[in-house]
Symmetry: D2
Subunit: 340 residues, 4 copies
């Protein structure tokens, strides 16, 4: 396509994240044009369309896939529909941006990726955190050699509160639902593949989570092909808000990020020296990264260049999640090739 043209979009799924993407496409990505929005709940589709000044909306995403004016789709529907819609969208010749995870099942993922390959369309997976300014800076420090060869890494990733138990029951568990972002981040930041995973986990936040067969507090050790050793620290509930930090230690130095705050003010009183709590959750904390990932997707399509987060990048964290679960169940380090 000509670089000056706009890329036309359909958004499938008008939940929280679908709405965010739709607003960005309508108002903040100059080269994008949002044509249609679908959601299985008609009211959700309509409200989102109104908010974004989009004329066409409906309950059947096939109307988007068959729409002749739409070049690219954003799949923001529930996880269990991702793989199927990817296959159908690829068949329809649409470029695809799909929210994470692609699926919980490796076989379904592989079929979806095969369909994408066959169709020759572009697929990008929604690991938005890669585009956050903090993580971009850390990746740059590793890539440029600013901190030398990386040796050790810590990823801290704690949510302000657990999702509803009903969600946890179908989410695939903490590793597929929450840690998956950190698995992706680990690979992205180090630029090497993880070979082995060891998990120490517990239920400390809410016994109902144990009842749902899941964990809420985990400490994961990763061994990378390039020798880096890393930990991922996850909790479903940090009372002070969303805690998202990373530290990489290398032969020439160390880089660490802090949380993002709503302001930089420090207050000193007779009681303490304090500041306000960090930004509370991902819609505030990572808002810029959601915009950036769509912009990068659009540019990849326009320039016919590889997507910054590929289908394989979407698959590997699922493998890691499965190895993590197995490690927890068997209380031993598990190699990724054991779960393929």
């Amino acid at each position: 396509m000509a670089k000056s043209d706009k890329l036309t979009f359909g958004v499938i799924g008008a939940g929280r994240i679908g709405q965010l993407h739709a607003r960005h496409l309508s108002y903040r990505v100059a080269q994008a044009k949002l044509i249609m929005i679908s959601d299985v709940v008609e009211k959700a589709a309509r409200q989102c369309a109104q908010e974004c000044q989009v004329a066409q909306y409906g309950t059947d995403y096939h109307d988007i896939l068959s729409h002749p004016d739409i070049q690219a789709v954003l799949i923001c529907s529930s996880t269990d529909t991702h793989a199927k819609i990817i296959e159908e969208a690829a068949l329809a010749g649409k470029h695809i941006f799909c929210e994470k995870p692609i699926d919980h099942d490796l076989g379904r993922i592989d079929r979806a990726l095969a369909a994408v390959d066959k169709a020759g369309v572009l697929l990008q997976v929604g690991f938005n955190r890669r585009f956050d300014a903090n993580y971009q800076r850390v990746r740059q420090a590793v890539e440029s050699g600013e901190i030398g060869e990386p040796h050790l890494m810590h990823i801290i990733s704690r949510d302000p509160g657990p999702p509803p138990i009903e969600y946890i029951k179908v989410s695939g568990g903490i590793f597929l639902d929450m840690t998956i972002h950190d698995f992706d981040m680990a690979r992205f930041l180090i630029g090497s593949e993880v070979e082995e995973v060891y998990v120490a986990g517990a239920v400390r936040v809410d016994p109902a989570i144990a009842g749902a067969g899941d964990l809420d507090t985990v400490m994961i050790t990763l061994k990378f092909a390039n020798g880096v050793i890393a930990t991922i620290d996850n909790s479903r509930k940090a009372v002070y808000g969303y805690d998202q930090r990373v530290e990489i230690f290398g032969s020439k130095g160390c880089i660490s990020t802090a949380n993002n705050y709503p302001n930089t003010a420090t207050v000193q009183t007779k009681d303490n020296v304090r500041r306000d709590l960090p930004l509370n959750f991902f819609m505030d904390r990572y808002v810029d990264s959601y915009l950036e990932e769509i912009d990068r997707f659009l540019k990849a399509v326009i320039n016919n260049s590889p997507p910054p987060v590929s289908g394989i990048d979407g698959r590997i964290p699922v493998v890691m999640a499965r190895a993590a679960r197995k490690s927890y169940e068997e209380n031993r380090p598990v190699r990724l090739d054991e779960v393929e």
Copy 2:
């Protein structure tokens, strides 16, 4: 007007700040509709209109003032035109958002404000920093009593580099061109009026600035009606970037802000513990506040409520700037009522 309707806008002046406002109106303020853009340079108006997907543009702002579909105008043209356009826009019944300063001349300001009063339109002056999250938090601490009665304040406001000498020659000098933001901030944060100003100033950055009759390095002492004593620290050139901080000390505590940074990463090497430089200049540092001020202007018009920055708020910092210049020239504290 009905709250659900969009407020229609014309933007007068498509320079750097006009472009910023135009983009915000087109893409980020849901209730705004930008109808027309004018600039004395036709190409500037056209490019801005294209970028914002606005059909109408031209070189004569009178076309905006006489446009029947435009309810509000943003005056972003050169300072010497502000007062005149305010008068004309008021006469045309348009609501007015005007960039600071209104004018360098108190008589012209007074005529403009009188025209606004007579027409019954709303006028807001562009002291955007009031809407920045850091300053909002500081104001809240003062207003809520979190730090008790305020006693002392420091405003640090240093630019990354001086403007061109040609600009300095016509800008009205550092007090009208640069400190004016800090004069407004001082009044806003403390919530009381300044009665007396004392200036110690120098030329340390560039002798050409002395040649233009101006200063580039000033330390200003303010005495407020409520007893607060404050300083404003200005330099035209902070080599490390835009330095924008404030500290207020009171009977129950102290609140201080830090600069804003592009990321939160800290790097430790054998040389030092360091982070990247703060955001470099106002277009990066204050971008959110520019959006917020327009949103607040729009809401004030829609709700028929007072503007958050009034015409008087635009006038008083000009008085302070004049007192500051007199103080420097006579090396003595000068009361504001001396320069009325």
Copy 3:
């Protein structure tokens, strides 16, 4: 003894740490009186005695053990002599402060502790970091419930550079030589016992360390009886200096410490925003804790109260170190009761 009397001391071993203790006893602990210093190197004993204005010194520590005026001894000799001297000192009825570790061999440790028990003297082990202001504050936060029930902990403990290879060959390896402090800290901060250890380790700093059969880069996972999961991050070489931090995350909050610096100054230039490197090594970083531990030892003797770091506290980290080594060798989590 009467509380107003001075406690009399002999120092065995006048190396770096023995000298530090001797200076503290002579000059900074008001209720202490240093009577005699011994070192196998006569010159070392003499110089230390002169610096501390102590009249008596010699090469045979038995002269200290048999000295009728000495009530307590500090064992600062090489690790392989600790257990034997503890036994002899206990038999001689002296109260004992012994540098860590007591020994590498659990059988020898047990014999030494039995001798102490039988003699009814007081034994304190030199885990000085417990008395550091940062760790005291963290312990207080856990103990008081300020952060609720602890869930997760990270201990970062990186040295500025590795010791000589000759030392590494006899030190017992990184777990007994370096991590042992962190094993103690983990137990102290959480106030519960570790049940299982998992180690991921590597040689990244110097291949000669591999040649000596040791590791220089390790990430250890600990599972505590009370459910806490923790990591210890060790590197023999942090180019930016001594890196000593801890973070504990709990049900009601999180507490994190930063490094200690020689000054609080921040410098901003065109290149970056920076501060000087943290205090470089333990003699600078932990100097106050060395003073405090001796003061607490003295008070325990005078008040006939339990020592703040007991013989058992000296034994358990050795067990942990052995489990850690086994975990690394077998690449699996190892329970502490496997190595008893």
Copy 4:
């Protein structure tokens, strides 16, 4: 004297600061030997002597001045006695360390300095803050050119609470009693002389301070011979503790210090992100600088080198204090040469 000998001391005045110096001389300065302590209150002298294990004490400082074994005296008595004792000590051939200020009266200061000159003894004035690690680092940044030519400076110096009104009545007022440290610091850090002072001041802490003819809240502007413009911000009462910071802005950068804290821990809870209050007052905050200044005095005597803080350095801040008072009373900038 031979460099290996100890320098012998007498301490005159066993109040809070005299006790601190006496302890340092007895226990922490290896080359010092404290021979005698005097205080007008016999009990104070005796207790201090006991604490420091000094055999000789008394109520008449002349016994120290005439003591044949004492080479140097520390004058820690009340301010009104300083100048007289300096004269007598100089006549007695003793080297002199005198607490600040020398006197409130310039004539008496000049007589004391003349006596010192005539006797050829060494006089050092107790501006201890110069020896603090933070201020040393700032001075180094200025001296080395790390921040280029200095342009602007802010000194923040706030006490945790006001002294008793009875003390304020005889202290000479805030400028001689409190700001005098900051006047010295200003000269020390910039390395140039102040030419003009402007004061804005108020009573905000306690009306009784107004009743005593003094101020408790002041903002001072200083103009230096080398063009630097500075402010000093003083309050008698910072509810959060002792606030001691400085910032110097120059052509190549900026250096800023933060307060010193009892620990580096940060606590995050559902309420805020906080740390403990800074060290509360000078005995905690500046304890190392008190030790360092005595060590430097001792070395200056031993090496027959100039003292790091001379008699002139003791005189000039008194001139600045007098100019500051005059500026406040006349509400105008006052040149230092006006008050000579």
